[in-house]
């Protein structure tokens, strides 16, 4: 609740701040302060929980330890994002405060997604997450690529919203309730409408989290959007989508009779996502596009958690969200300092900017799931959850093979940076940025060496 | 199916439509007479006594004029525009209670076409379709003036629709019903709503002017800058439809204002006259009609008194003044009602 309210209010406040404050640096600091406030407010709520969770909005929102933890991860990632990439906001356009405000609105949608207990709230959460993104994608108004990304994202996004709504409606028609806990009770005999509804829900949510075969918008949108927003969309937002996915299925659609219907579908989607994401990423020439496809591939891994639906999976998704977000945000921060987004643009970076290269290497290690980086335990947990599930060993093996493939394209960047020679063009950066980069590296390694830091709260 | 019911409703509908058209026709006469009086002229006086046959002559002329559809225009939409405008104007009257119940041959006949529990929403719904008539006409003409006028009209109408909707909220707060019949009946047994809602009424009134494209908000037709605005290319009965629709809208908004704020068909002491119910009903209808005529006169009076607004003034009035005012009105009303409970 606190997190939701504070992020939503922060968005409104920032919109107004933009009207009265012209100094873009100040706006950035203000936004950072607001995230901090939201972060603290969110944590403070943990102390007030009685009996594990509390409810708000007539029981339509449930705040639990888990949701608070996930919120904290998301807010923390956003904090990092603001600090690392906040200055890039200025380069996109004039309305810096509005961009920040939109990010806050997306955050409030995510806060809703972590705790919804009513399909209405799910719908609202997904939409609050989506709509600001359409704007952010198109924020570079004069750039045709940005325009196109925005339009494409908008059309695809609202289309999937329609599908989502139809799914919800069909389920309502069969069960007469929007409450996700009540839905779970009616799993004894399955109405055909329910099955249809679940399928539509899966398609819609797969759309939102860019799982294959509903992923085709992702690379174009990520590529076309201003890089600074791609960074946010590919990380925090995607994790938010997954938490909604996970929560819905975890609460409503578990159990033998019902899961036997959606499990194969979701498993195939996950397999397709893994394969397509990884194989296509191999052939990309631009690092930004590679990261877009890699985000699809990573979505495949996160889908494993959704399929597995057990204790390990929930822990895993927290860890995955954190690891993936931090590493990708960091990677994008490095990317934005390199003027040329092709792989060649990274040639010889290690000699010219050892710190940038080191940071990128660590982040890419984390994305590839190398041990001692956060990504390793993230992958470990989702794989573990999937193995635990019992029926999906083939998927796990596939995931592992895909992880090996992913090394190929992640290491292309590393190879370019360290083993090739070139004259990379790098934008200047401040000592503060340097310090933050180092801090991010430390976070990644800390989570990789000692994931208990995060898991002890889960 | 009850055939008598259908016949009864059809009769009522024809009556209402005929009334609307009749009033609209004579409003043109009234308009010219009022203008004449205000400008110290005679006004129409050739056709019949005091020019009373003038509207008939005008109507006949429109019927027999040549119909011109510019070659550049979109033919279908060009015809659709005025049709929509007229259709919408004819549809609004369906939920207005013209009077109480008449008892004929033991049948209770309410003088209202349809008593639905969302009457006000119905009116809003239908009225907001009215803008399509103007938009279609303006766009289909393929004339720069028309297009500009229609865009202006759309912008103006939707802007004032907001304030219009908001101003009614306060009224609904203490009527607790969206049915016009209920609202009128409540006023019959108590004070008229104008007593409680003076501010709301004023906002409603202003917005009604804007919605009907009446002076001082008649920018869509602003003849001296846009050559007649959105119906510049129209002739014959299509032009007539646009003009008629405007007058019908005026008539209906008058009826609406009378019903919402001035007791509709009720008048003070109507239940203590001791007359036959049917007679009371007829008296009530007369009372409503008088109120409507007064409003119509007011419309005309304003037209010949206040100059046209500039477009930015119009928009600023609508957005910056009317909307906040309506919100404030709503909050104050709410607080007072709750405090008195």
């Amino acid at each position: 609740m606190n997190a939701l309210i504070s992020t939503a209010l922060s968005g409104v406040i920032l919109m107004f701040v933009g009207l009265f404050v012209n100094n873009k640096q100040q706006i950035k600091y203000f936004a950072i302060a607001l995230v901090l406030i939201a972060f603290v407010a969110n944590l403070l709520e943990a102390g007030t929980l009685q009996g594990g969770s509390s409810r708000a909005f007539f029981g339509m929102l449930e705040v639990s330890r888990f949701s608070i933890l996930f919120n904290a991860v998301m807010l923390g990632a956003t904090l990092l994002y603001f600090m690392l990439s906040g200055r890039e906001f200025e380069k996109v356009g004039e309305h810096v405060a509005d961009y920040f405000a939109l990010v806050f609105f997306i955050l409030s949608g995510i806060m809703l997604a972590t705790g919804f207990s009513n399909l209405l709230m799910l719908f609202l959460a997904i939409e609050i997450i989506s709509i600001p993104q359409y704007i952010l994608a198109g924020s570079d108004k004069k750039n045709l690529k940005s325009n196109e990304a925005s339009l494409k994202y908008f059309l695809m996004g609202s289309f999937s919203t329609g599908i989502l709504l139809m799914g919800i409606t069909l389920i309502y028609g069969a069960t007469g309730t929007f409450n996700i806990a009540e839905l779970a009770l009616g799993t004894g005999e399955l109405h055909p409408l329910t099955i249809g509804g679940i399928m539509l829900l899966i398609f819609a949510l797969a759309f939102k989290v860019s799982a294959a075969p509903f992923h085709f918008w992702t690379p174009d949108v990520y590529d076309g959007s201003p890089t600074v927003f791609t960074s946010f969309m590919a990380t925090v937002v995607k994790a938010g989508g997954f938490i909604a996915f996970l929560r819905l299925f975890h609460v409503s659609f578990t159990g033998g009779a019902i899961s036997s219907h959606w499990l194969p579908v979701l498993a195939i989607i996950a397999a397709a996502t893994l394969l397509l994401g990884n194989l296509t990423a191999v052939f990309q020439q631009s690092v930004k596009r590679m990261l877009a496809y890699s985000s699809i591939a990573q979505a495949g891994f996160m889908l494993l958690a959704v399929i597995a639906l057990n204790e390990t999976a929930t822990q895993g998704i927290v860890l995955y969200a954190a690891a993936y977000s931090v590493a990708t945000i960091g990677m994008f921060a490095v990317l934005m300092k390199v003027k040329d987004y092709t792989f060649e643009g990274f040639n010889g970076l290690a000699r010219k900017q050892p710190l940038l290269a080191l940071a990128a290497t660590i982040f890419l290690f984390s994305l590839a799931g190398m041990p001692l980086t956060a990504g390793f335990f993230a992958k470990y947990f989702v794989l573990s959850a999937a193995v635990q599930q019992g029926q999906l060993l083939w998927l796990v093996i596939l995931a592992v093979i895909c992880a090996a493939i992913s090394v190929y394209y992640y290491f292309r960047v590393i190879i370019a940076m360290y083993f090739k020679t070139g004259e990379p063009q790098v934008e200047p950066f401040t000592p503060a940025f340097k310090a933050l980069l180092i801090a991010t590296i430390i976070i990644v390694i800390l989570l990789g060496v000692y994931p208990g830091v995060l898991l002890q709260w889960a | 199916m009850d055939w008598v019911f259908i016949v009864e409703k059809l009769a009522l509908i024809s009556g209402v439509l005929a009334l609307s058209l009749g009033v609209a026709m004579y409003s043109t006469w009234g308009e010219r007479k009022v203008a004449a009086i205000i400008q110290d002229r005679r006004g129409p006086n050739r056709a019949g006594f005091m020019g009373l046959l003038q509207p008939l002559a005008d109507g006949g002329k429109l019927f027999f004029k040549e119909e011109i559809i510019p070659t550049n225009s979109h033919r279908f939409l060009f015809i659709l525009g005025p049709s929509v405008a007229m259709l919408v104007a004819c549809m609004t009257s369906a939920v207005i209670p013209w009077g109480d119940v008449l008892t004929i041959a033991g049948r209770q006949i309410p003088l209202q076409v349809a008593d639905i529990n969302i009457g006000i929403l119905y009116i809003f719904g239908v009225v907001s379709l009215g803008v399509y008539g103007i938009m279609l006409g303006g766009w289909a003409s393929n004339n720069k003036f028309s297009l500009l006028a229609s865009v202006r009209a759309a912008s103006q109408i939707i802007s004032y629709e907001l304030a219009l909707g908001l101003s009614l909220i306060a009224l609904l707060m203490f009527t607790g019903s969206l049915s016009l019949k209920d609202i009128v009946e409540q006023q019959r047994h108590g004070l008229w709503n104008i007593v409680y809602q003076p501010l709301g009424f004023i906002i409603f009134l202003v917005c009604a002017f804007a919605e009907c494209n009446r002076t001082p908000f008649d920018l869509p037709e602003a003849e001296n800058e846009l050559n007649g605005g959105y119906h510049l290319e129209y002739s014959s009965m299509k032009l007539g439809f646009y003009l008629f629709a405007e007058y019908i809208n005026m008539f209906i908004s008058s009826a609406l204002m009378a019903s919402l704020y001035f007791g509709g068909y009720s008048f003070p002491g109507m239940d203590s006259l001791g007359l036959a119910p049917n007679l009371v009903t007829i008296l009530g209808f007369v009372a409503l009609f008088i109120k409507i005529l007064l409003f119509l006169f007011f419309f005309m009076w304003v037209r010949w008194t206040i100059p046209r607004f500039r477009y930015d003034q119009l928009m600023r009035l609508g957005w910056n003044i009317m909307i906040p005012l309506a919100l404030v009105n709503m909050l104050i009303t709410g607080a007072i009602i709750l405090a008195r409970q």
């Binding site: - | 550049n72 912008s155 707060m173």
Partner: protein, 131 residues
């Protein structure tokens, strides 16, 4: 749940709308007949000059259907946004007395957000016409 079936149990049935359908039929009939009638009644002496768009007597220049000022468009979008907010007031107003002060404060918050957006667009100059 905070809702009850009161909203649904109102007396209106689909049949209540039947007279409206009748009126629609009547109105469409009237409009249609009049349109057709005038089409046949009037004289037809068309010349190409007569069928050209009127531009104050000079020859037509270009097509009229060009993009209009973005301001109009902005107004339309703002209308859509604010109008749906207005819609929310209606159920509230109808149930206002039952909801009491709690409802009032909730609505006060809603109005605050409404005004927030409102002030924002005004400050942003979305409704500035004199530039």
């Amino acid at each position: 749940m905070f809702l009850d079936t009161e909203l649904l149990s109102a007396t209106t049935t689909p049949f209540s709308y039947f007279p409206i359908v009748l009126q629609l039929v009547a109105a469409v009939g009237f409009v249609g007949v009049t349109m057709v009638a005038t089409h046949f009644l009037g004289p037809k002496r068309k010349t190409s000059d007569k069928l050209v768009n009127f531009e104050s007597g000079i020859e037509q220049i270009g097509n009229a259907r060009q993009p209009v000022a973005i301001k109009y468009f902005l107004t339309a979008i703002l209308f859509v946004l604010f109008d749906v907010e207005v819609i929310f007031f209606y159920p509230y107003a109808v149930n206002f007395k039952e909801l009491g002060w709690d409802g009032f404060f909730a609505m006060l918050m809603f109005v605050a957000f409404f005004m927030g957006g409102f002030i924002y667009i005004i400050k942003k100059g979305a409704l500035k016409w004199e530039d």
